[in-house]
């Protein structure tokens, strides 16, 4: 008998207040913004809109920006990044002499458009009407021309869900150093190889500002846990805050500074002074909580039997594994990511010769994106090349 399943609780179908959202603009550039109620979100030359108008909408639709910061959902377009590099290029390249409008006239239209007095469609209509060669183009070339102009003048955007995959792609584009250069395909493999699942207790070292720690969180539930080792006194897992995780989910990220790894707890002995001020009390309470948290985290780590060890570190990999392996259960996965093979070779060789590990492998993920258009079946080209 197939079981009837309740609607999942982990998926919030709509954009809600306080969410971070990736905003893809017609230029295909993407920026990350917070949906703070009452704020106005500016997309530069692509206009600005009120966050309140996007709250409650769905991800993935494309919205056109109206004059007053209102937004209207558009019919979907299949190929947002259709390329211009194909054989038909000669037809769609603008011949500057065929445009009857002057540079100044076009600039004026653009300014009006930014002010919201003229819509993108109106600009594009005047461009095509005044373009002597437009009517001679094939239908395919016409649509390409229009799409290119849209990308330039459309005041539209697409809100993209900050999934682990999309966030990884975003940071890889804008700031790869922050996430230690991990690509979405590589992160995907790391998550599968580590065998993360709802109840898994995962031990991790993530010196890439929490992208990995956060993705481990998103693949576990209240019965699982992510335990992260960090250098310094306080952790920096900035990427986690962009993920759509509940406060309870974020609670499941337990952290411990490396310099506490061998720490022996002593009882909390501090006493409040007589007639304590408010400040005394709050400081005392904070230190007491910190002490309790450290004790509990150390206890959790030392209970060991973690279900996976996932590492992306600036430190020597072998030294990290040696220190953490005692806390990992038997027949579990150890996965190490590095952007450069050189830092992994030593670890690979060491693991291969150690009786503690089986089936040691070193792999490199390889990804290629292709572009295809629905109208021209012969035009499938690799993205890079």
């Amino acid at each position: 008998m197939p079981m009837e399943v309740d609607q999942p609780q982990t998926t919030t179908p709509r954009i809600s207040a306080g969410d971070f959202v990736l905003i893809r603009m017609p230029s295909t550039n993407t920026k990350i913004v917070c949906m703070k109620p009452g704020t106005t979100i500016s997309l530069g030359k692509f206009g600005s809109f009120k966050a309140d108008n996007l709250i409650g909408q769905t991800f993935g639709a494309t919205f056109e920006i109206q004059k007053d910061g209102k937004i209207i959902a558009q019919a979907p377009t299949a190929f947002d990044n259709a390329d211009d590099t194909e054989a038909n290029n000669k037809e769609i390249n603008d011949d500057p002499t065929s445009q009857k409008m002057t540079f100044e006239q076009i600039e004026e239209l653009k300014l009006k458009s930014i002010a919201g007095d003229v819509s993108a469609k109106e600009i594009i209509d005047s461009l095509t009407e005044n373009n002597a060669s437009f009517e001679k183009k094939t239908e395919y070339a016409k649509s390409k021309y229009i799409r290119r102009k849209e990308r330039k003048f459309m005041k539209a955007f697409t809100p993209i869900e900050p999934t682990v995959f999309n966030l990884c792609g975003y940071f890889f584009e804008v700031n790869p150093g922050k996430i230690r250069g991990i690509r979405p395909d590589t992160l995907s493999q790391l998550l599968s190889l580590a065998n993360v699942y709802s109840k898994a207790r995962v031990l991790t070292v993530d010196d890439g500002q929490g992208l990995i720690a956060g993705s481990l969180l998103s693949r576990t539930t209240s019965e699982g846990m992510v335990f992260a080792m960090h250098d310094g006194d306080v952790s920096n897992y900035d990427v986690v805050r962009y993920m759509k995780l509940s406060p309870e989910d974020k609670e499941r990220l337990r952290t411990l500074p490396w310099h506490r790894l061998d720490h022996e707890m002593t009882p909390f002995t501090e006493v409040l002074p007589e007639n304590p001020t408010e400040k005394d009390i709050s400081g005392y309470e904070r230190r007491k909580r910190g002490h309790a948290r450290l004790a509990s985290n150390l206890e959790t780590l030392r209970a060991g039997e973690f279900d996976a060890l996932v590492i992306s570190t600036n430190y020597n990999v072998v030294s990290v594994i040696k220190r953490l392996l005692p806390y990992v259960g038997g027949s579990r996965m150890v996965v190490v990511y590095s952007q450069s093979e050189e830092t992994l070779i030593e670890a690979f060789d060491w693991m291969r010769h150690s009786p503690e590990f089986l089936n040691v492998q070193m792999t490199e993920s390889w990804l290629r994106e292709y572009q295809a258009s629905c109208s021209a079946p012969s035009h499938v080209l690799p993205e890079d090349a």
Binding site: Q9, R14, G60, P76, S188, T221, S331, V380
Partner: protein, 319 residues
């Protein structure tokens, strides 16, 4: 309970254990009291395995060698699954899972089930609150997969239906967060996929096709049915080999010594030690040539190259 979607510590009767001999020699074994397992390392009693811990290293009764009793995981299963069809391998499985944002609680539809290689990974990722509806029109494959899911403790998470999804659709409406199609003509199932996807939020689809003509037809169908953001990828993993290579100082050659660069490390050191004889003060030390670890990618990549076509379905509100 638990197994493919949850670790357990001790092996019990009925469990699937991955028997590991070497990296190239692994196979699944169902623990059956009284049974005996023979392989090139000797014979092993299931009764000895039952009650031991996952990860145990076990010597054969004849003492010829060791096996390891590994805990099953979906990734290992993909390496040992009996092939009834072409299967998905880990690079694609991983990439699709995170592109489709699979995680606990998600509802997923898959067709065809084939050998169930991908189904195991999906179930592990969306368990325990999510659900996989998987469809296969080949009756024997459907029955075999259903039985495997049961043996692997996955039947709570997977509904296996014997059904032709092109002729009859999925029989599901407004339900799934994601759909995966690995069929010869995925474009014919796009309409049914649209119907099955949730209407209140973004839906995601992935179609797997070995040739680019199929990709084109799929893209056309997706476009016609209002899917957007159509993207195509090819995803592989290349394995790298590491070995230590001798890099002797040129003085070695100037001194007239011949180094055999092709010989294995231990043979080379043995030979040098022999040649050096007892005249050398510390034979062991001087026999070693300076070495560096070098790596190179292996040529062959597991699995055939295929294309992944992704798209999203964004509900546009009636306004």
């Amino acid at each position: 309970m638990g197994m493919f979607h949850e670790y357990k510590t001790t092996i019990s009767a009925g469990d699937t254990v991955i028997i590991y001999l070497t990296p190239d020699s692994m196979y699944p074994l169902t623990m059956t009291p009284g049974a005996v397992q023979n392989n090139k390392f000797g014979s092993f009693k299931h009764d000895d395995m039952i009650g031991s811990k996952f990860g145990t290293k076990m010597r054969s009764h004849t003492g010829r060698g060791f096996i390891y009793l590994l805990h099953p995981t979906p990734a290992l299963w993909t390496q040992v699954v009996p092939h009834r069809t072409q299967i998905l391998y880990l690079p694609d499985i991983s990439f699709i899972s995170s592109y489709l944002d699979l995680r606990p609680g998600k509802i997923m539809i898959e067709s065809g089930t084939g050998s169930g290689s991908f189904s195991h990974s999906i179930a592990r990722t969306i368990a325990p609150t999510g659900h996989l509806y998987t469809f296969e029109y080949h009756e024997l494959r459907a029955t075999t997969a259903k039985q495997e899911f049961e043996e692997h403790g996955l039947s709570d998470m997977i509904t296996m239906e014997h059904r032709d999804v092109i002729a009859n659709g999925f029989g599901k409406t407004d339900l799934a967060d994601a759909v995966f199609l690995d069929l010869p003509a995925p474009w014919d199932a796009v309409k049914a996929a649209k119907e099955a996807l949730r209407k209140d939020t973004i839906g995601r689809i992935c179609c797997f096709s070995p040739c680019i003509e199929q990709v084109q037809r799929t893209a056309v169908a997706l476009n016609e049915h209002g899917f957007s953001d159509i993207r195509m990828y090819e995803c592989l993993a290349r394995e790298h080999e590491v070995r230590s290579a001798p890099v002797p100082d040129i003085e070695t050659a100037i001194g007239g010594e011949k180094v055999n660069f092709k010989m294995s490390k231990s043979d080379r050191n043995k030979k040098r030690k022999l040649e050096a004889g007892s005249a050398e003060p510390s034979g062991e030390e001087s026999a070693k040539l300076p070495e560096v670890l070098v790596s190179k990618p292996t040529d062959i990549t597991r699995g055939h190259t295929s294309y992944l076509t992704f798209a999203i379905l964004a509900p546009v509100d009636q306004q």
